[in-house]
Amino acid sequence: MQSIPKKGTPEREALIQAHLECTQSMKGVAGFSILKCETPGDTTVISGGVHDDPLLKRVLLRMRGESMAGKLIIICTEVEKEWRIGRLSGVRGVPPEFVDDRVFTDEQEVQHEIFLMRLDELPETAGMPEHYQEGWKHRDDNWPVT
């Protein structure tokens, strides 16, 4: 399974830079992807990002496939104006909680902040034989719930 590049490595810095450029180019789009709009806010011509960088694509897939318990999520606190970062509880009936006091004024920017947080939070490696645990036998990763 794909490892996450270590802190301070050129690979990691390159991922962060590519992710940031895509994020910024998506401002104003009523949607989002880690791809770069040739004209900011306009999806007529898009390229780069996950289409060109297999490492970025796989790191993002690993992040996106994480279990719901503790997973970061975006919460819109004022329509079209304010967004914050929350964490899912993984327990039915327990709503997400805010992780901090930061308030973002652009919905796309939060995508990049969460990417940075996940780079730090996720273990460098996962899903290898040495990570085996009982939960693998009873779907505790919650992956199949779609």
């Binding site: 009523a30 079209e80 327990v94 919650n142």
Partner: protein, 801 residues
């Protein structure tokens, strides 16, 4: 964090005729009063790149101040029968089969605690069988309990029984798993002697719950029975519960598994033996009346149960053989009912205000706008629908209310671990989602799983549907979806000055062709995915007779739906049912043997697998979906064919069609349909524009189109990941024009409706709305065409000499 949504409501109907009255039920939890107004809905999208939110006052509309009151939903399904002398036993035997799905829950789980199985117990009085907080089967007599030494295995059948002999005070509990694995412990019966007599309270007997309180509180009035609040809502299946009035031997308990069997006693008494027939209090068979909400008691007292909040029936029992798959063929193998603690059939709130629709009211999209001085706000959408024969316009917008119900109160962003994988970004939750994440009693959508992980196959419209709101972006699109997305189309119709009626899926399902035949053109919503059979019949009959259909979106005509007949007394289309069977894009999958609807007995799943291809309805069918960003369409040579070239008047051949928009940034996006002659597109269908080759890797081929999972299924590599805008003629001067993308309507409002998507749509609508048949196709176009063989004489694709 919790999200305060102190003000929310619902109406008693989606569609109301002029002159009729519509009622509104509101929870206003805190503020002393709220203001209620009737407004016409024009645009629900707050995106600053579009026209913004627009509502209009309504002539003859309501504007009133209404006292606020708290109203709550008592969710979770159960059965009950009113208290009676026969249930006030001195001794007892309780028994049933169970298949629990959440015997142990997290301490923070929303309904953590004991679950009732067969109970007549409340607050330390009475008797009952339970699963306790630790996940063990437990019998209670008053305040005394006795538990099985081992926990129950989840998702497995167990036979459980308890006896109490008042004379000896002996209480015995049996817990017998159906399957015993090699390393499972033997679970012996456990016993205890108690000195208590059973204390009886005036409470019902309940299946899958127990009575928590008898209350005068106004919020208890929406419980059933009113004023009696049940708790301990069970998650899982229960089958063949019985109550007897003596402590039976284990052998007699075994015989009682047969239930009341008058045939075994030569029909002289209720059986299964003479002596047992004398002690039966109730012997329920859930195999009877699967399409009802009644649990039939075949015992001597006819203590039929009423089921509340619609548990799922037609479920395989402990004896399912795997050789029959339709409950109608072998109901005795379908004697189980699946209960869930978040089932809901009807919020049952009191009416707070009503509005008599003026007799001359225009058929349009309306809402009750609710506000408080503290800034609370909610909108309850509804539609004024003309009576048949009193149509007001040549155009009708077919409001996809079944699809709105299917998506009602959807929780996927916070329930499904893999939601991010298909939207290809981090989801954004709106305050409605935050509220629903905490308030599970508002129920989920047919995209969700119940709190125990079982798929949700019913959706009720008699509850606040917080996803069916303006100013609401859906996580799938990061833009409007379903109701608010369809308001993009309403905004366009209004801005362009068209007169149009609104009719709902319900109207067409119940009234058939009569609902459609007086219109020149029917316009769909952006995503009419969920349909009843009679609705599809009506659409086919309409286009066959010369009607014109504008299919404004994608992924339509996909899932089999049926309205539950047990709720017809509450109105049309109160509850819809759908089963996610062996194929199609499915957020959950039905268990084996559970593909047939309980409501109508019809096979559920995709219409395609009932031999009713999506492509047969309007010429195109879903081929791919992706939820990150949208793209645009380009014309094909077939757009120059005189059969259809009128649609492109004023649009240059090389123009990028819809490289702008309020959904994904383009007209081609989210879910996409294509022309496929082999899947039911009429062989003369013209593909006039396509988005081929431009979609991202987030777009993937639909699962029903391949049998082998493999690389190369995404938008960057697979040729079927595209949207095809298509036209075909139907007999008698009819026609279908399909725009084949859910995002399409999001481009209509762009630049105040001055854009090429708006132009194309207006050209088609102007052509389709005229009286009389459409002009016939040229004689040269009438020729034999194949399906897989295609059309060898398609001159549009032969290069000019």
């Amino acid at each position: 964090m919790s999200a305060a949504m102190r003000l929310a409501g619902y109406a008693d109907t989606f569609g109301v005729h002029p002159g009729e009255t519509i009622k509104f039920m509101i929870n206003c939890d805190g503020p002393k009063e709220f203001k209620a107004e009737i407004v016409q809905m024009i645009n629900g999208d707050t995106n600053p790149r579009g026209p913004g939110f627009i509502e209009k006052p309504v002539p003859g509309g309501l504007s009133a101040t209404v006292p606020g009151r708290k109203q709550v939903i008592h969710s979770g399904s159960y059965g009950y029968v009113a208290d009676c002398p026969q249930l006030r036993v001195e001794s007892f035997t309780l028994q049933c089969w169970i298949w629990p799905t959440a015997p142990k829950t997290h301490p923070k789980y929303w309904k953590h605690g004991a679950q009732g199985l067969v109970t007549k117990w409340s607050d330390g009085k009475g008797y009952g069988l339970f699963i306790n907080e630790k996940g063990h089967v437990e019998v209670r007599v008053n305040g005394v309990s006795l538990e099985s030494p081992e926990p129950v295995r989840d998702h497995a059948w167990h036979f459980v029984a308890a006896t109490f002999d008042a004379a000896s005070g002996e209480l015995i509990l049996y817990h017998e798993p159906q399957v015993h694995y090699a390393l499972d412990p033997v679970i012996p019966p456990v016993t205890k002697t108690i000195s208590d007599k059973i204390a009886h309270a005036s409470i019902p007997a309940a299946i899958a719950a127990y009575t928590e309180a008898v209350s005068d509180d106004p919020t208890a009035q929406s419980s059933v029975p009113a004023g009696i609040v049940l708790a301990g809502k069970y998650n899982g299946k229960i089958e063949t519960p019985r109550i007897c009035s003596t402590a039976l031997s284990r052998q007699d308990i075994e015989t009682m598994k047969l239930g009341a069997q008058p045939g075994l006693t030569e029909r002289r008494n209720s059986g299964p033996t003479g002596p047992l027939s004398e002690v039966i209090v109730a012997a329920w068979e859930f195999s009877d009346g699967i399409d009802t909400i009644k649990g039939t008691d075949f015992g001597p007292y006819r203590l039929d149960l009423e089921f509340v909040n619609l548990p799922t029936r037609g479920m395989t029992g402990h004896n399912w053989s795997g050789t029959v798959f339709d409950w109608k063929e072998a109901p005795k193998q379908y004697g189980a009912i699946s209960f869930h603690d978040d089932d809901i059939d009807d919020a049952r709130w009191e009416v707070d205000f009503e509005w008599q629709v003026p007799a001359d009211c225009k058929s349009r999209s309306y809402a009750a706008k609710l506000t408080t001085e503290d800034g609370d706000e909610d909108y309850v959408p509804f539609w004024v629908v003309p009576e048949i024969g009193k149509e007001q316009s040549k155009i009708a917008f077919m409001v996809p209310t079944i699809s709105y119900m299917a998506y009602a109160n959807e929780h996927v962003a916070c329930n499904a671990g893999a939601a991010e994988l298909f939207i290809y970004r981090v989801p954004i939750m709106q305050h409605q989602n935050m509220f629903l994440a905490e308030h599970r009693e508002y129920g989920g959508s047919i995209y969700d799983t119940h709190t125990d992980g079982t798929g949700i196959c019913f959706s009720s419209r008699l509850r606040p549907i917080l996803s069916n709101r303006p100013k609401y972006d859906h996580f799938l699109a990061q833009a409007p979806w379903q109701y608010p997305a369809d308001l993009h189309l309403i905004y366009w119709l209004e801005t362009m000055g068209y007169e149009y009626d609104c009719i709902t899926d319900e109207d067409i399902t119940y009234d058939g062709l009569a609902r459609l035949e007086n219109y020149n053109v029917i316009i769909t919503g952006s995503h009419p995915e969920h349909n009843s059979g009679t609705q599809l019949d009506a659409l086919h009959n309409y286009t066959q007779r010369g009607g014109r259909l504008m299919y404004m979106g994608a992924d339509a005509w996909y899932w089999v739906h049926s309205y539950h007949p047990a709720y017809e007394d509450k109105g049309r289309g109160v509850i819809t049912e759908m089963r996610r069977c062996e194929s199609g894009i499915r957020t959950w999958r039905a268990d084996p043997g559970e593909y047939y609807h309980a409501s109508t007995g019809e096979l559920g799943g995709m219409w395609r697998f009932r031999g009713r291809y999506l492509h047969s309805v309007a010429g195109v069918g879903m081929s791919s979906e992706g939820f990150d960003v949208s793209s645009y369409f380009s014309r094909t040579p077939e757009s120059n064919n005189p059969r259809v070239s009128w649609a492109f008047e004023g649009i240059d051949y090389e123009e990028m069609l819809g490289n702008f928009g309020l959904v994904g940034g383009g007209a081609a996006g989210l879910e996409l349909d294509i022309v496929d002659f082999t899947l039911g597109s009429p062989p003369h269908t013209l593909t006039v524009a396509t988005s081929a080759g431009r979609h991202t890797e987030a777009y993937l081929l639909v699962t029903e189109d391949f049998g082998f999972n493999q690389q190369g299924l995404d938008g960057t590599t697979h040729p079927r990941v595209r949207g095809d805008i298509a036209f075909h003629e139907t007999p008698n001067g009819g026609g279908c024009f399909s725009f084949s993308s859910i995002a399409y309507c999001g481009s209509l409002p762009w630049n105040n409706c001055d854009n090429n998507i708006s132009k194309l749509t207006a050209n088609v609508l102007n052509h389709f709305m005229v009286d009389g048949p459409l002009p016939p196709a040229p004689e040269s176009e009438i020729r034999a065409r194949g399906r897989a063989d295609g059309d060898a004489k398609n001159t549009d694709l032969i290069p000019a000499q």
